[in-house]
Structure formats: structure tokens, C-alpha cells
């Protein structure tokens, strides 16, 4: 049992460098491969926005922004997963399961199906607001003079079920079932470009940085509410702040990618398996691993049935479920 030998964790710096290298490699591969075959020279020129105009268009306008968007979405979901698992002290928590993204689905579907005339540009803001709203509902339902982690998890599951049912109801009663709706529900990155990148990166940078600062609080919260209070942590305030960060990270990600399952669930476990229990290491590692995982999954989604694309959400679920089971079995 290798995983049962703690204290033998590699130094955090080594872990980060290795994970960073993994992410970089994933991004290089992702830019190099696609439904259109390009030579290394064309890809290289494309990276500097020069050379053959078609290759340049494919590399610089299609692949690079999409890979970057995938990395940001993956990082956001990985961080949100760590935050939610930390807040609830529940290894099964993730933005999807706790209803933090369910509102995004409902809002996006409402826009796409009920008001099909709405400009597509409004889908992302609606999804963001929907996600924030469902997170707020989960939090409000869990509040009774304070948040108990168990109550938080249970209200999340209930809200997720409710919002998903409402989304299904809207789809089932509408004749306008569009491709866009399906791809939003399954989670996909088809056609994501620089505008999506520009829309997303400020959230990742700001909320992500705050998350890294807040990692020390999660270390204390992990000792239970009483112990955390005894150590001078203002438990309710910190939990609210961390939940807001998780909501912002989730909302901004799903607004761009749709409802991607499993990243937020699997990545924190993988990060803890490698880095142990110190959230100051787990947090940045989860961001990097989440980014790498989604970049790889998205490349797979683009290439495996080319020229047809799979929604990447299906890939993350198909790969994520067995990976999760494997992690759970080796850990316990």
C-alpha cells in the first residue's frame, strides 16, 4: 500500500514542477492534434501567429484559445471541488453534486429553449447568474443559526435534484430542443475562442488567487468546527467566503463550458493522493491537475471520432467514473 506511507510525500516544489510540466505537455499535445492534420512546423509558426494562413487560423484562432479555455475551466472546477470538499468535510462534494452548477443549467436552458430568440451571448451571463443563485439557495437552505457541513451537503444534493428536474421539465415540454441545449447539458468546449478566454481568465486569476490564500483556513476547518473556533477561526464567516469563491469559480466555468461533471469530484482526490492533507499544497495542485485533465479530455473529445466531436463532458464522465472508483479503492 504505497498510499498508506505518509510522510513520504515528495516535497511540494517537486510536485508542483512535475504537475506544471504535465500541464504544459498536455497543452502542447492539444495544440498539435486536431481533426485537421498539421505538421510541427505549421503548428510552431501558428503559435507565433505567422506562416501559412490556414494553419495559422487553425492554431491561433481555434486550437490555442480552446486549449486555454479548457485549462481555465478545469482549474476553476478543480479549485471549486477542493473548496466544497473542504467546507463540507465530505469527500463526495463537488460543484455538480452540491447544486452549485445546477442553476446554471436551468438558466441556460431557459434562455435557449423558452426564449430562442435571445442572443447566444446572453447564455453565459445567464448561466453565471443561475449558478450563483443556486449556490445561494443551497447555502440559505443549510442555514440555521450556522451551517452544519452535513446539512450543507444534503441541501446541495436536494437543490441539484430539483434544478435538474426543472431543466428536464423545460426540455421535455418544449419542441425547440436545440443542439446548443444538449451540448450545454453535457458540457462541451466546441467553438470556444478568445472571447471566452477573455471572459473567463479574470475569474480564474482573482478567485483562484484568493483561494490559494484561503488554503490555510481550510487546514484549520479540517479539524472540525469546535477546534477551528478554539484556534480563533471565525468559522461561519470563513465558510461563507469560501462558498462564495467556489460559486464564482463554478459559475464562471460552467457559463463557458456547460455542466461538466466529475472534474470537481476527481481532481481534489487526485491532488490529495499526491500531496497529502495540507491545503496550501493541495489547492494549487488541484488547479494544475484540473487544467491538465480537462485539456487532455478535450483533446480526446476532438480527436477520437474526428471529424465528429464528442462533448467533453461525456469524456470526463466516462474517464472520471472509473478513475474515481480506482482512487477510492486504493485510498481505503
Amino acid at each position: 500500500m504505497l498510499s498508506a506511507a505518509p510522510g513520504k510525500k515528495p516535497p511540494p516544489a517537486v510536485t508542483m514542477v512535475a504537475a506544471g510540466g504535465l500541464l504544459l505537455a498536455a497543452m502542447v499535445v492539444a495544440v498539435a492534434f486536431g481533426s485537421v492534420r498539421l505538421g510541427p512546423g505549421q503548428v510552431f509558426d501558428g503559435l507565433f501567429d505567422r506562416g501559412d494562413p490556414v494553419a495559422r487560423q487553425i492554431v491561433w484562432q481555434l486550437r490555442v484559445p480552446r486549449v486555454l479555455v479548457a485549462a481555465l475551466v478545469g482549474a476553476n472546477l478543480g479549485l471549486a471541488g477542493v473548496l466544497l470538499q473542504g467546507i463540507t468535510r465530505n469527500p463526495l462534494a463537488d460543484p455538480h453534486i452540491l447544486g452549485f452548477s445546477a442553476g446554471a443549467g436551468l438558466a441556460a436552458i431557459a434562455v435557449l429553449v423558452i426564449a430562442p430568440g435571445t442572443p447566444v451571448g446572453l447564455v453565459a451571463p445567464a448561466a453565471f447568474l443561475g449558478s450563483m443563485a443556486s449556490a445561494a439557495v443551497v447555502y440559505a437552505l443549510a442555514w440555521r443559526g450556522g451551517i452544519s457541513p452535513v446539512r450543507f451537503a444534503l441541501s446541495g444534493v436536494a437543490v441539484a435534484a430539483l434544478f435538474t428536474a426543472l431543466s428536464t421539465a423545460v426540455i421535455a415540454t418544449s419542441d425547440l430542443f436545440t443542439q446548443a441545449t444538449l451540448s450545454f447539458l453535457a458540457g462541451g468546449l466546441f467553438g470556444r475562442d478568445w472571447s471566452h478566454f477573455e471572459q473567463l481568465w479574470p475569474y480564474t486569476v482573482v478567485a483562484g488567487s484568493l483561494t490559494l490564500v484561503a488554503a490555510g483556513w481550510l487546514n484549520i476547518l479540517a479539524l472540525g468546527d469546535d477546534m477551528a473556533r478554539g484556534l480563533g477561526l471565525r468559522v461561519e464567516r470563513v465558510r461563507l467566503m469560501l462558498a462564495v469563491l467556489a460559486a464564482v469559480l463554478t459559475g464562471s466555468a460552467v457559463a463557458v463550458s456547460g455542466l461538466l461533471a466529475f472534474i470537481g469530484l476527481v481532481v481534489p482526490h487526485a491532488a490529495r493522493l499526491v500531496a497529502g492533507n495540507d491545503y496550501r499544497v493541495v489547492m494549487p495542485l488541484a488547479a494544475i491537475l484540473g487544467a491538465a485533465l480537462l485539456v487532455v479530455a478535450d483533446t480526446f473529445a476532438r480527436v477520437v471520432l474526428a471529424p465528429i466531436e464528442l462533448p467533453v463532458g461525456i469524456v470526463t464522465a466516462v474517464v472520471g467514473a472509473p478513475a474515481f472508483l480506482l482512487l477510492v479503492r486504493t485510498r481505503t
Binding site: 483556513w217 472540525g224 469546535d226 478554539g230 480563533g232
Partner: protein
């Protein structure tokens, strides 16, 4: 006990309510620097609620808790945590957390969120590890420790906080007699060596009487009696507190009171009743 100066801890007219239930009902209590005080009483008597109020786990509904004369809710949570450590009854932690990592968590109230470990941090952690006899266990995950070792590791965390007052909620409840003795020995040593003031909730009256300078017996949210163990532990009081009929003996060496159930003593009231019942059956 200190003379003219304010006591280290002073509880005045404290009330704590949970919904319609009043857990602590107008309690007054003073604890001097260097004392060991044990809170005893039946389940639901309010002793844990009182301890939690002292530990700043919960705001009182009325009355106040003062530390060196200042209301504890007028100082910040972190500032209070630098002077008072609280150990809940069954604290939880990630199972792969090591003893040393746990002790480091005790430095939280002393450190900035992003500050690197200072020399003072290291000294405090090492001191805590040494005083709790955790040197050999420092790299071990909590999940691999015995109950007694784990409890010592938690005390290590509390000591790394460098508190003046240590609050413990039934620290010996889940331990066998050997580990109970070891833990109480540790607490006594810390009290003597560091002048650490200790207030703890205890279930076992004999243990409480053995280790504490003072016992505070609670019933129905109020203090029934507060005094030296020999004053507090009498057969009448235990009967009133717990509804148990007991005999109080003396420890042959220390003179500390020991409580035993009357029914187990030949000639006690309960066994006489039993004799009567049997003889009546026989006729």
C-alpha cells in the same frame, strides 16, 4: 490562588440557552491562575455548555465570561486563542495527518495566513512535542495511534498554542485506565511545570477529585457546590446530584475521596433491601 488581583477567569451570572432549553442558568465561577478545576455533574447538568461558553464557542445569552477582567467577546477570536486553548470531547482530523503536522496547526492563532514559520513557532511546537512525550510518534499519522496516544497528540496541539488556560471536555472518556492515568499525570505535570491553568469537564468523580484543586458540581444548569474535593464529594451530595446511593471512601495515600456504589458493599442499604426481598420470597 492569587490575592488582590482579578482572577484569571471569571464567569458572572452566565446563561446559555438552546432554543427553549436553558443549559446554563445564572452561573458564577472564578478560577485563579495555576488552578486545576473540574466541572462535574450528571448528563445535561450544563457542565459542557459552561465549558463551551468559557471557550468562546458560543456567545452567552446573558451574563459574561471575563479573562483577566476583560469580557472575552471584546477581544478578537485569534487573540483569545493565543491565551486559551479548547479541546473538544471527540476532535476530528484527516486520518493521514501526522502528530507533528497536528501540533503545527496549534500555531494558527499566532501566525499570519501567509507568514513563514518563525523561530517562536518552531520552539513552541518542539516544546509541545517534548512535553507530551510525542518525539517517537511525531511522524505517525493519527489513524495509526492508540486512543491514549491520539489524546496526547491533541494536547500537543493545544500546548503549541502556548495557552495560559487549557479547557478540556471529558479528556479521559474514551481511554482505558492506564491511559487515563497517563493523561492525568501529563496534565498535572503541565500544571506544575508551566503554571498552566486547567478547567475540564470530567465524568469520573474519583478521577476529578484526585487531579483537581477544586470541584464545581453542577445540576440543572446551576452550580450546586464549588469547593475542595473533600468538601464537595460527600454521599449526600452525590445522591442529590446523580440520584445514586453511594459510599465515599478515602484514598489510603492521598486522602482524596473515592465514590463507590452502596449496593456493592456488604451491609449497604441496597444489599440489605436485597436480603429482605430474598427472605420474604423464601417464606
Amino acid at each position: 490562588m492569587s490575592g488582590g488581583a482579578a482572577p484569571l477567569l471569571e464567569v458572572r451570572d452566565l446563561c446559555v440557552r438552546y432554543g427553549s432549553r436553558t443549559a446554563v442558568d445564572g452561573v458564577g465561577l472564578q478560577v485563579g491562575r495555576g488552578e486545576i478545576v473540574a466541572l462535574i455533574g450528571p448528563n445535561g447538568s450544563g457542565k459542557s455548555s459552561l465549558l463551551r461558553a468559557i471557550g468562546r464557542m458560543r456567545k452567552p445569552d446573558a451574563g459574561s465570561v471575563r479573562f483577566e477582567g476583560t469580557d472575552i467577546w471584546r477581544v478578537g477570536a485569534r487573540e483569545y486563542a493565543r491565551r486559551v486553548a479548547f479541546l473538544p470531547q471527540a476532535p476530528e482530523a484527516p486520518s493521514d495527518l501526522t502528530v507533528e503536522e497536528l501540533a503545527w496547526r496549534g500555531r494558527f492563532p499566532h501566525r499570519g495566513l501567509l507568514a513563514a514559520a518563525s523561530k517562536a513557532d518552531r520552539t513552541a511546537v518542539e516544546g509541545a512535542i517534548a512535553q507530551c512525550g510525542l518525539e517517537a510518534l511525531r511522524g505517525r499519522p493519527l489513524a495509526t495511534l492508540s486512543g491514549g496516544e491520539r489524546q496526547r497528540a491533541w494536547i500537543g496541539l493545544a500546548l503549541a498554542q502556548e495557552p495560559e488556560l487549557l479547557l478540556l471536555d471529558e479528556p479521559t472518556t474514551f481511554l482505558d485506565i492506564g491511559h487515563q492515568q497517563e493523561l492525568l499525570g501529563l496534565l498535572t505535570r503541565l500544571n506544575e511545570a508551566r503554571g498552566l491553568t486547567i478547567v475540564m469537564v470530567m465524568h469520573d468523580i474519583a478521577q476529578a477529585a484526585h487531579v483537581a484543586d477544586r470541584l464545581v458540581a453542577m445540576q440543572g444548569g446551576r452550580v450546586l457546590v464549588d469547593g475542595a474535593p473533600t468538601e464537595v464529594v460527600t454521599a449526600e451530595r452525590i445522591e442529590v446530584l446523580f440520584g445514586a446511593s453511594v459510599t465515599v471512601l478515602r484514598h489510603p495515600e492521598s486522602g482524596a475521596p473515592i465514590v463507590v456504589p452502596a449496593a456493592f458493599l456488604r451491609g449497604g442499604q441496597a444489599s440489605r433491601d436485597l436480603d429482605r426481598v430474598t427472605s420474604e420470597d423464601g417464606q
